[in-house]
Every structure is written in C-alpha cells, then in structure tokens.
Symmetry: C2
Subunit: 346 residues, 2 copies
C-alpha cells in the first residue's frame, strides 16, 4: 500500500498534479480531458462530468505555460507606462486591465520610468514572454525597440497621442489640438496676457507649443513658459507661479491666464495665488489638464481638459483581444478627442 511504485525514477517533474492525472482518474485520454476543460461542447456530457469531478477531487490547476507553449498563445497582454503613480494614466490602465480580465487575459505591467533603455528591456522581455498584445502609453520613437516590436508581429496599440504613422493601432487624441483649443478658449474670454507651466515631457510640450503658436497667430507673442521637470507637483506649480510673477510683476496681471500641463500643478498655481491674494478668476485664470476626479469639487473648482482615459483603456483592450484572435479591427487609428471643462478658475 505504501510503496506506491514508480520504479523508473523520472528525471524531473514538479510534483504538481497534471492533466494526465486528471485523465487517468476520469478514465479518458489526456486530450479528452483537455477538451473537456477548454472546449466542453466537443465532449459528451458524461465525460465532461467525470473530468470535472476528477479536477475537483485532486485539485488540478492547469499549467498555463505549457498550454501557451503548445498553442503559441500566451493569453497575456503587456502594457508599458511611464510611471504607475501618475494617475492620469491609471484610469486607462484600470479599465484596460478590467476589460482584458473579462476577456480572459492577464496583464503584465512594465514601468519605463521615462527611460528609453528600460523601455527597450521591457519590450524585449514582453516579446520573449510571447505577449499576445502590447499596449503603450504614447508613441514609440524610432529605435531598436520600435524595430523589434514591429518585426515581432505582435499586435500593438499606441495611445494618448496621435500620429499618422503608428506602428499598428492607435487610440488617442491630438495634444496639438488641445493646446490650440485652450488658447482659443482663453482668447474668447478676453484674456490678454498668458503663461504656460509645463512638465518636461513630450506630450505636454506638444500642448505648450500649439498653445503658444495659436496665441502668436493672434498677436500674442513670447508667452513665458516655466518648465517644472519630469513630474509636475503641487509645489512645482506654486514655485512656477512665483517665477512667472518675478518676471511679470503683478500689476500686469489683471487679465493673466495660465495653462498648466497637469491638474496638480494648476492646483499649485491656485494655492499660491490665494496665498498672494490674487483673485481667481478675476485677476488670474487657470486651466489644468487631466480632470483628476477631485478638481471638480475644489474651491475654486478647476477648469481643465478632460480626456476619457477609461475609454482609451477599454477600447485598446477590445482591439488587442480582437487582433490576438486573428480578427481585423477598423479603424486602426481612433481619435477619441477631449473636452474643455469650464469651471470656476476661468
């Protein structure tokens, strides 16, 4: 009873319960057990019941990696974000992940930390892990990573930006249009002196450029721009406002307007303005970016640019899953737009 033989010592074996064990217990061939679990409609009701029973009895958990290797489908998707804490994107990641989960996919999350080298390592890793699809925040610049990815044949979706020549699929919006629209909006408000506080990232720079260009076209040249490094914070917004005021004394500020590259730096501007006794929006108009949930309920509530990040995520998931299953998607480039939410700071 005790020496439950197996004279021929097998070389390895993780010791875990395998599909073969289930099959033996159910009295069927391994492949039949496999079908019972994955394509139950191809199997008789009786066999199905026996297999399910066996699974329960011995606590079988399929080894997905073995299945993936055999079927060349990992049922895993990968996402590369600049950083996990910048919450503008986390809405997108949350809805991406939820949609993928519902479709039976797992998400691997990679943080590039705004480093090209890390990004390339992540890409290499994701190709090696045979991700069924790759999601990117932003566009991927020409370079080794881009070449590798395109050669891999893995479905890719770039997001949160627009381009006429994406690698594969694209779901985003035009930061240039954002900058332009905000400029037009502030001009319509009869503001006549402007400034920009911008984080030092590509998409923020696009908004800033378009903003300044539009203003220049309307006769307002040389708009001061304060750069606040890679991540904007409330404090950097406060300091930036001081810098701007140092260059342009308060007396000139009667119709000043500031476009910030993020809600949090906009909050900094509002905070500093309150500390300095500058009235908002009478003396100073402030526009943020992101529509972070709480800015609607602050005092004063913040005028900002809203982007439907959750929709980017769920649509990206849908696109990736479709493509992973061999279907085409149309259109390959989706502009989901944005809107300016007018509140008390303007």
């Amino acid at each position: 009873m005790s020496e439950n033989s197996k004279s021929q010592r097998s070389r390895r074996s993780s010791g875990a319960v395998t599909l073969a064990d289930v099959a033996k217990l159910a009295g069927v061939a391994p492949i039949t057990a496999s079908r019972a679990l994955n394509k139950p409609e191809q199997v008789s009701a009786e066999v199905l019941a026996r297999v399910k029973d066996a699974v329960e009895r011995i606590g079988y958990v399929p080894n997905t990696m073995a299945g993936s290797l055999a079927s060349a489908k990992s049922r895993m998707m990968a996402a590369i974000v600049p950083s996990a804490v910048s919450s503008v994107f986390m809405n997108t990641i949350e809805s991406l992940n939820n949609s993928l989960f519902d479709a039976g996919y797992q998400l691997m999350l990679g943080q590039s930390g705004y480093s090209t080298q890390r990004q390339e390592m992540l890409i290499e890793s994701f190709i090696g892990r045979r991700a069924d699809g790759i999601f990117l925040i932003g566009l991927l610049n020409a370079g080794k990573g881009r070449t590798r990815l395109m050669a891999s044949g893995i479905p890719i979706v770039e997001t949160w930006d627009l381009s006429a020549t994406p690698m594969d699929m694209l779901i985003g919006f035009s930061h240039t249009e954002v900058g332009k629209s905000v400029a037009q909006y502030l001009l319509k408000q009869k503001r006549t002196a402007f400034a920009v506080i911008s984080a030092n990232d590509h998409r923020a720079a696009l908004r800033q450029e378009a903003f300044c260009k539009e203003l220049a076209g309307q006769g307002f040249g040389s708009v001061p721009v304060e750069w606040v490094g890679e991540k904007s914070t409330l404090l950097s917004g406060r300091l930036a406002l001081r810098q701007i005021l140092a260059r342009q004394p308060l007396s000139q500020f009667s119709t000043q307007a500031i476009f910030c590259s993020s809600d949090v730096s906009a909050l900094g501007v509002v905070t500093e303005a309150q500390a300095l006794g500058i009235r908002i929006p009478e003396q100073l108009a402030v526009v943020g970016f992101g529509d972070t949930p709480f800015v609607a309920d602050m005092m004063p509530s913040l005028t900002t640019v809203r982007v439907n990040g959750a929709e980017i995520g769920s649509l990206a998931a849908q696109y990736l899953v479709q493509r992973a299953q061999g279907q085409e998607v149309t259109p390959r480039i989706v502009d989901i737009g944005f809107s300016i939410i007018e509140r008390e700071t303007t």
Copy 2:
C-alpha cells in the same frame, strides 16, 4: 536555392527563430547556446562570442515560456490590488515593480475591484501561470482562495495590514495602532469633540474602531462616524462634514476634530469648512491618511498619517525574490510602522 527543403512537413512551428537556429549558426549544441545566454561563466570566451554574434545576426529572442516550462521557474510575480486608481497603493506597486524588474522578474497585475470572486479568479489564474511569488494588498480572508494559495506552495506576501497568522510573509503595520495614535495625538491637543469620516473598507474600519475605542477610554463616548462608501472622494468628504454639522451644530464645534480615512476626504472637509467659514485648525482640526504627495503643499497643509508604501513594495520584492530563489527570509512578519505628520490642519 529556392526550395530550401524540409521534405518532412513538421506539424507545427511558430516560424520564429529558436535557440536551435542560434546553435546551428554558432556551430554548437543547443544546450551550449543556452548556457552562453544564461550562464555565460560556464562557457569559453570564444563560444560565448560566437553565440552572441549568432543571436544578433538572426535576431533571436528567447521564448521565455519554453524556458519556464522546462525549468519550472516563470520569473513572473503577481500582485493583486483592490483598484489601480487608489493611489495610496500605487507607490507600493511602483516600487515593487521596479525592484522586481531590477531582479529580472515581470509583474502581472490583477485588480480585485474589492470583489472576492474576482480575487479568487485571479488567484487561480496566477497559480495556473505558475507565478514565482504573489503579492497581496491586505490580508486574505479564509476561503477557497486562501486554501488554494497555501496549498500551491507559492511564496506569498501580504501587506498593508498586520496579523499574527499570515499565510506566509507579511509586511505591514497596525491600523489599530494608527487609530489609537491619532486619538492620542488629538487628545494631547486638548480637542474635546470628535468625529470620523471613513471609507467602507476593512482597514479603514480598523482605524476607526481603534480611534473611537481609545477616545471612549478617555471619557469621550459615542463619536459620530460617517461612512462614505467604498471609495472616498473629495466630494464625499464635503458631504460628510455637512452631515456631521447637521447632527452637531456649529456652536459645539469650537474644539472639534475629524479623523478621515483618506487624504482626499480630508481635503473635502477642509474645502467645505472653508466654504462655511469654519476656521482650521482653530475651530476644526482635520487629520487625513496616506500623505499623498501634494497635501504637504496645500493651504492649509494637511496633518496626516504617513506610511512608507514604497518601502513595503521594495521589501516585498526582495522577500519574494529571495524565496523564489530558495532562500529563507527573516523575519517573516515585518511591522514597518507609520508616523503622524503634523501640519497646519491641527
């Protein structure tokens, strides 16, 4: 030249470049190529160079899944978070992920959405994918998921809470101590009327209970508690303050103090108080939880409870990696503590 034979049609083959191709090109056996890539010190310099050259020339990317299957090591870790957008935890996830990346591991991220069913599905999926370690926000209640996990033998680290009987490893702190300490802190300030605004989650409830219990012990019974649902927002903080004021008119508020379960609801309280002309901290003291980066720079700056979430993440990564590599870790239970950051709202 053209019909590059292979008369025996192989049944499958993903068409991708494999290690065998590299080996052939380098003129060595596959296992030697494998060693050159994974254990370069076991291989002669010359072979190493030839293999690396071959890899470059044909653009080989190792199929990690095949390697994982053969070695029974996936080099993937899994994390389950309640939600991706609740940024208290994202610091932890960010540092967890960065540390894992540096150690050569990929992170799979799962969102339970506060649902037990989803959590169990995620656990099942992670076991099936043979994660080398599992990271959890919070403790896992007794149930199917817990049983499964413990039976799997996978290293597990529970975080952001404390327990004498974790499944495996634990890195957290005592929410009970937090509640108690905040109560003591406010008592030391000579506050004499208290309230709590709390999200409806397990850990927040622990803080609230301990807070109230400590106050009761000092002669302040029946502290009003406002519950604001699963996720607290700035707006819910504002509304909660109104509810509290409706029950306890302003006249009694001269030494009122409110403990909020999150920084964002604390901000709501501050905002609403300002709208109502209540002076902070003279008439009302407010304490938050989380030390969200920007609350230090607001006006007034927020007194709050700081937890070193990044340290939880990096220590968890270190523990999981060590255990995945067969080493033991000590201690298995780490209390990383917390601190009350005193600022202008108290």
